[in-house]
Amino acid sequence: MSRKILYLFAIIIPFFSSVFAQSHLSADSTARLLDEVVVTATRTENKVSNVPLPIQVISAKSIRLSGSQKLIDILQMQSGLVVANNPLGISLQGYPNPFGNGIQMQGLDPAYTLILINGEPLIGRNAGIVNLGRIAIGNIKQIEIIRGPATCLYGSDALAGVINIITEIPEKNSFSFQTHYATNNTLGLTAAAILKQKKTALELFANRYSSDGYDLDKNIYGKTIDPFTDYSASAKFIYDINDKSKFTLSGRFFSEKQFNNYLIYTESQPQVVKGTTTETDKSLYARFDHKVNTGLNYTGSLYATSYNNNATVFVKKTDSLYEKIELDELMIRPEVQVNIGKDPSSLFVSGAGYNFETINSTRYSSQKRMNSWYVFVQKQMQWKERTNIILGARFDKNSLYPAQLSPKLAIAYKLNPAFIIKGSIGAGFKAPDFRQQFLNFSNSLIGYALFGAQELGHGLQELQKTGQISPDIDIAPYLAPGDLSPEKSIGINAGFDYTINEHAVVKVNLFRNDISNLIESYNLPFNKTNNQAIYSYMNLNKVFTEGAEANFSYIFNSNFSLHGGYQYLIAKDKEVLHQIEEKKLFKRDPVTYETSLVTKEEYKGLYNRSRHTSNLRFQYSNILYKASAFITAKYRGSYGFSSLNGFQNGSGVYDDDRESVNGFVLLNTTLSKQIGNRWDVQAGIENILNYTNKLLMPNIYGRSYFINVNFKLEK
């Protein structure tokens, strides 16, 4: 497979380069690389070249040209980002997660990347994963991706980095409408309007997206992806009170209804269950910006967001309730931020906020609360014109675990205007989530029990009282309230941005993340009287990820551009390395049953991590014919999966090629043609090579086709 890819790239690159070379001679050379303005890296507006951190910007234009409707499809085509469907802890064994797909960044699982919309976090993670389908992409201005710990500004969860979705700023009166139709009877309808007056601006956005889903494995009852319908809407209102003050009010709503239909086993008898899963996400954001003078401004904001997930399924034959799981999460966050300084590259930024979080679930004993407050400070400095320094720290105090201090230092040195060396080091943490703290769940079908660390003592007492744990078991050692610590990381990034000329740039970044205190589930050394296990959570593993990422962009002229990237990644469990060193890790040949030691060379690292990933994107616009072409390819190299095809040598770690899943390429193309001034039509093929893997990549449907009709009126 990988050889095929090399051929493919080998063919594509020279072909396109010759096309570019020719057009470069004749076409205008006004198009050049943009020094984009980003807000995520420093919480203030800054040019990419002035920020000493690895930043990637996905522009509205490339999102539009891709014709894609789903954020996850856009993200998975970026270099170094991989769709992963598991939380880090469990993925040490390589289990896919039934709760959907998230983005793996720098080899860290979805739970370790913070997802923001306009700087505010999305809540409602299921087993650590935010369903990215909750984010409609029709009104995105740009997506900013910061790699490396951003905890010093954003708090918990931002260990691998931050993905911040910036929505459009209403500037011009406009109305637009889009119809999207694709394979699997997928229909997307989007409408957006901007009303701009002297002092006020209003942006409205609505999207309906539905699909029949699909079935990758006919041998298993039910569809791989069940049919669903999504509704999203958002509104943003901006009022310029005067030259110095501005008021913003925005709201978001998302709702997804999925129709479930699958098989369960009760006493080994298969039964069909049917029902629905509804996910609802709402948020409201109010913000006041005031410029006191040219050197001082501040922002006060209030963010409130709620998330609800309700799954109700019935046994089809008897129409009796099989299971109802409900989860309600709420977060309210007031925050202030003060920016002092005139020069955007030497600002002093400080802020403070308070999080009120509550959660209510059928799987928790009662409503749970988690309150925390935080302060952050950040100083940007420019030293002798050539050096940019950011020094920052954040202090988080949570009601449930020890206070966390997360400092960060980042330095950029301009060797010359074209060559900038960047380096940063920062601490990050991930707070134990609600599930790890408060889960109180007994599986009615199999009969096992699972308790969050805070619930364990109480849960065991209850089980013993009701006779589900025999009275002669000594539960005393487990009664003290669990003291889960946050998972902690130190992240180092170092590299350079080299602008070869006004058309070409190369960016290289080396990274290393050391994570300790990983929270994992474990089973207690005794069972319930029904002989089923009892599980809880504790801090266990230490892992690291390291690697290198290189990206290039070549803007030939305003018509042609080529972008590519490559990531090399190593991710390993430190405890496994220690066991190998101590000669304590064995494997057993599944044929001869001979036992031997696992060597350091054999240990390939954590499951579900590709050593090699790369991408290539080609954009072509023909102004004369008002047409454009967008081709993007993503290669995900081979990765490990525990017990692949029934192979397991008993070591429990990825140390044998027979556990390697072949790499694959996703190749998408989109053609766009503008008709008149207001209409344009797009047609595309996704996954041209028709890659599927029903077991490991259920999110990837085979080759599919789509057509978009877009209308835009602008004044």
Binding site: Y265, D472, Y522, N523, F526, A533, K584, R588, S642, S643
Partner: protein, 200 residues
Amino acid sequence: MKMKTMKLSVLAFAALTIGIASCEKDKDKTPVETKISVTDSIEIPFSSNKYTFYSFKDSSVVSNSDSATNKWDFGIRFVNIIVNSNASGPGNGGVIVQPGAYDNFTTAPTTGYSYDTSAIKPAIDAGFTSGWYIYNPNDPTHTFYPKAGQFFVFRTADNHYAKMEILAVKYSGYTGPNTPPTTLIYKFRYTYQADGSRNF
């Protein structure tokens, strides 16, 4: 049955070595080889509330009606393994979950043997995250794979010593994914010392 013949051939091999040893006995005065090394397979129901019992000495499954006797050394039900003593039986059995290479292990220790303190607190951990096997719930074969570099040292019901390693656990009658299997086949090897010493 296939596994029966396998067992017989191993026994035959053991007998042969004993034969050779006895021939040499006169010359070298080496003691009679009293240990037996066997690779065996037993088939147990996938779902049952009864244990399948096994005797090292006889290299055979012991009837379930003998559960209250010293005739068996260990029992298996699904992935749960019990030892004949205390909460599980009248014997003097015990077990050590021993890390390391099976072949290099030559002497059983005198102490350190655990037993089943109650039906729900067995000596051999069969838990999903900490037990003697590896199980990936998303592996479509749903196989339990015995961890490598880990075996069991048994003190038998009648105070003999044996070391035992589970080599593989397979399903039979499993056509999946919509029907559960009917039986589990445990393949294991052991060395049993009949003279009562702790040497293998």
